[in-house]
C-alpha cells in the first residue's frame, strides 16, 4: 500500500517480498485479531442488535424497534441512574486536583519515590479488598465514626455508605483515594521531564509558588493532565462496577446505581435482557463520544 506509488518495474521487483512478508505477517496478527473480534466485537454487536428486540435467549426474540430505549428513557429509575453517573463524574476534577497538588509537592523532594509508592498503593489494591476495608471503616459504629465521636464531632458521624444522600460523595472520595496514585505517577513523570532552569528563572524573577505553578507548570502539564482526565472519565463509566458490587450493591434503593450495575442486575437478576442491552448501547455511545474527544485532544496536542 505504501509502496504503491512506485513505478511498474520496481513494483514487480518488490511484489514477491511483499507477498512473503504479508503472508507470514498475518499469522503474527491472527491470534490477537481473532480473539478480540470473536470475544469482544461480535458479542458487542450481538448485544447492540438485540437491544432492538425483546430479547429472550433460547426462545424467539422478536424485533421491537426502539421500545427498549423508550422504556429506558421514560423510566424514573434510569433518570436517577444518569444523575448518579453525572455526580460520579466529580471524580474527574477531584482526582486531577489532588494528583496535581501531590505531584507538585513531590517535585524535587528527597524520598519522593517512597511517597509516590505510598500514593500508588491504593491503585494496586483490588477493589474487593479495599472495599471490604472501607465497609468496616465507614460502618456506623466503625473506626471513622468512633474517631469523630472521640473528638466531639458526634454530628458528623453518619452512615456514610447507607445514607442515600451521602453514599455518592463517599463513593467519589473512595474512588479518588484509589485512582490518585495513577495521576501522581503520570504527572510526576511529566514534571520531571520539564527543564528545571525554567523554574529557577521564574523564581529568580521573584515569582511565588502559586504564580510559578499556575502560569508556567500548568500549561506545560496540559498533555499529561488531559491524558489523566480522559482515563478518569473512563474510570467512572467502565471501572466502577467492582466498587458498587462490594460497597453498596447499587443501594440504598437506586441512589448509587451506575449504568453497568443496572445492566448486570437487569439481565442476570431480572432477566430483562433487551433492557440491559439498551443500557449497554447507551454506555457504548457515551464512551465512544468520550474517546473521540480524547483522540481529538491528542491530535490537537500533536498539531
Amino acid at each position: 500500500m505504501t509502496a504503491g506509488t512506485a513505478s511498474a518495474p520496481s513494483q514487480r521487483r518488490k511484489a514477491p517480498r511483499r507477498r512473503r512478508t504479508r503472508a507470514s505477517g498475518l499469522l503474527l496478527l491472527a491470534p490477537a485479531l481473532t480473539l478480540t473480534t470473536v470475544l469482544i466485537v461480535i458479542p458487542a454487536a450481538s448485544g447492540v442488535y438485540h437491544s432492538f428486540t425483546s430479547w429472550t435467549p433460547g426462545y424467539a426474540s422478536p424485533w421491537v424497534g426502539l421500545d427498549n430505549f423508550r422504556a429506558l428513557f421514560g423510566s424514573d429509575i434510569f433518570r436517577q441512574i444518569l444523575r448518579n453517573q453525572a455526580f460520579l463524574l466529580l471524580l474527574v476534577p477531584c482526582s486531577m486536583a489532588v494528583a496535581l497538588f501531590l505531584s507538585l509537592l513531590l517535585y524535587d523532594v528527597p524520598g519522593a519515590r517512597l511517597f509516590r509508592l505510598g500514593f500508588f498503593l491504593p491503585a494496586m489494591l483490588p477493589p474487593a479488598v479495599a472495599g471490604i476495608a472501607f465497609v468496616y471503616l465507614l460502618a456506623p459504629n466503625g473506626p471513622f465514626n468512633s474517631a469523630l465521636r472521640a473528638i466531639g464531632l458526634d454530628g458528623l458521624a453518619k452512615s456514610w455508605l447507607i445514607d442515600p444522600d451521602l453514599v455518592k460523595p463517599t463513593l467519589v472520595i473512595i474512588l479518588t483515594w484509589s485512582t490518585v496514585g495513577t495521576g501522581v505517577a503520570i504527572l510526576s513523570a511529566s514534571l520531571a521531564s520539564l527543564p528545571p532552569e525554567l523554574f529557577e528563572a521564574a523564581r529568580m524573577d521573584g515569582a511565588g509558588w502559586w504564580n510559578v505553578n499556575w502560569y508556567i507548570t500548568r500549561p506545560l502539564l496540559r498533555p499529561a493532565l488531559e491524558m489523566y482526565g480522559v482515563i478518569q472519565v473512563i474510570q467512572v463509566f467502565l471501572w466502577s462496577f467492582p466498587w458498587i458490587y462490594v460497597l453498596t450493591s447499587g443501594g440504598p434503593g437506586y441512589s448509587s446505581t451506575t449504568i453497568d450495575w443496572d445492566v448486570y442486575v437487569n439481565t442476570l437478576r431480572f432477566g430483562k435482557f433487551g433492557l440491559g442491552a439498551a443500557e449497554a448501547v447507551v454506555i457504548l455511545v457515551i464512551v465512544g463520544v468520550v474517546s473521540l474527544v480524547g483522540v481529538r485532544l491528542g491530535r490537537g496536542r500533536a498539531g
Partner: protein, 299 residues
C-alpha cells in the same frame, strides 16, 4: 546559546540556590513540606494497615477495642480459620488458573501483533493498531452479557479456563499499546535489518532478537495483567454463576455481603490472604509499573 550551555549554566546556579536553601529559613520550609507529605500519605496507607490490624487482633482485643490501631494482643488464628475452612482454597486455585491462562494468552497474542504492527508500518498497520489499542476504552459490560449467553447455550459457562482466555483477550489492547510504544523507542531498525541480512526470517527475528530486547516490557505487562486480572469482579461475577467455581475476589466479596452472620475479623483475614499474590507481584515489579504508567505521558 545552546541548550547544553544553558543547562550547564543553570546547574551551577542550582547549586548556589541549593546551598542557600540549607542555610536559610528554606530549611524550615523543606521540613514542613516533608511533614505535609507524611500527613497526606497517611489516608492512602491507613485502610490497608487497618485491615491488617483487624485480622491480627485477638477476639477479646477486638471486642474491647474494635477501632484501636495498635493491637494489644496478636494472633494468627483468624488467618488459620479462614484458610482451614476451605472456603478459600478452591477460589484461590480458580483465580490462579484464570490469571495464568489470562497472562499467557495476552502475551502470546499481543507480542506477535505488536511486532507485526511495528515491521509493517503503513496505513493498514495504523488501522490495525487503532482498532486494537482503541479497544482499551471498550465498556466490557457491553460484551460480557452477550458472551455469557453464548457460552451458556454452548455449555461453556462456569469454566475457569474460558474465563482465563477472556481475561487474556481484554488485556490485549493495553498489551499491544505498551509493547508497541516500547518497540518504537527501543527497537532499533538497524538491529532488525542486521538480523534479516544474516538470513533470519520473521519468526526467527521475533524469537531470537525481539523477545530478549522486549523482556522488561513483557515483565511489566505480565505484572500489570496479573494484578488487574486477579482483582477482577465483573467478568467473574457474570461468567461464573456456579458457587462452586468462583474466583477468590468473588469469594471474599460474598463473605462480606452476608452481613448478618458476618465475622469481621475472619473477613479481614480472608481479604488479606487474597491480597498476598498481588502484593508479591507489586513488590517485585513496582518500579517498572510506576514507570510504565509514566511513560505514556512523557511523549
Amino acid at each position: 546559546m545552546t541548550l547544553k550551555a544553558a543547562v550547564g549554566r543553570s546547574r551551577s546556579e542550582t547549586e548556589k540556590v541549593t546551598r542557600q536553601k540549607f542555610s536559610s529559613p528554606k530549611t524550615l520550609k523543606r521540613s514542613s513540606l516533608l511533614m505535609l507529605l507524611i500527613v497526606m500519605s497517611v489516608p492512602f496507607v491507613y485502610p490497608l494497615v487497618f485491615l491488617v490490624g483487624l485480622a491480627v487482633k485477638t477476639r477479646s482485643n477486638y471486642v474491647h477495642e474494635p477501632s484501636g490501631l495498635i493491637p494489644k494482643q496478636l494472633t494468627f488464628d483468624h488467618f488459620e480459620t479462614a484458610w482451614r475452612g476451605g472456603a478459600l482454597t478452591g477460589p484461590l486455585l480458580n483465580s490462579t488458573v484464570a490469571v495464568l491462562v489470562g497472562v499467557l494468552t495476552c502475551i502470546l497474542c499481543a507480542m506477535p501483533a505488536a511486532y507485526w504492527i511495528h515491521i509493517n508500518r503503513g496505513r493498514l498497520s495504523g488501522m490495525v493498531q487503532a482498532f486494537l489499542v482503541g479497544l482499551m476504552s471498550f465498556p466490557l459490560i457491553a460484551m460480557i452479557i452477550p458472551l455469557f449467553i453464548v457460552l451458556s447455550t454452548s455449555n461453556l459457562n462456569n469454566q475457569i479456563w474460558v474465563l482465563g482466555v477472556v481475561y487474556g483477550t481484554i488485556n490485549i489492547p493495553f498489551a499491544v499499546y505498551l509493547l508497541q510504544s516500547y518497540f518504537r523507542t527501543g527497537l532499533d531498525g538497524a538491529v532488525l535489518e542486521a538480523a534479516t541480512i544474516d538470513g533470519a526470517g520473521t519468526y526467527s527475528t521475533l524469537w531470537w532478537v525481539v523477545l530478549p530486547i522486549a523482556r522488561p516490557a513483557i515483565g511489566t505487562l505480565a505484572a500489570l495483567t496479573f494484578i488487574w486480572t486477579w482483582a477482577d469482579i465483573m467478568l467473574a461475577a457474570v461468567l461464573l454463576q456456579d458457587p462452586d467455581h468462583i474466583t477468590v475476589m468473588m469469594a471474599i466479596s460474598q463473605m462480606a455481603q452476608r452481613r448478618e452472620s458476618y465475622d469481621v475479623q475472619l473477613g479481614a483475614a480472608a481479604a488479606l490472604i487474597a491480597l498476598v499474590p498481588v502484593l508479591i507481584v507489586f513488590a517485585v515489579a513496582q518500579r517498572s509499573i510506576i514507570n510504565g504508567f509514566a511513560g505514556g505521558a512523557v511523549k
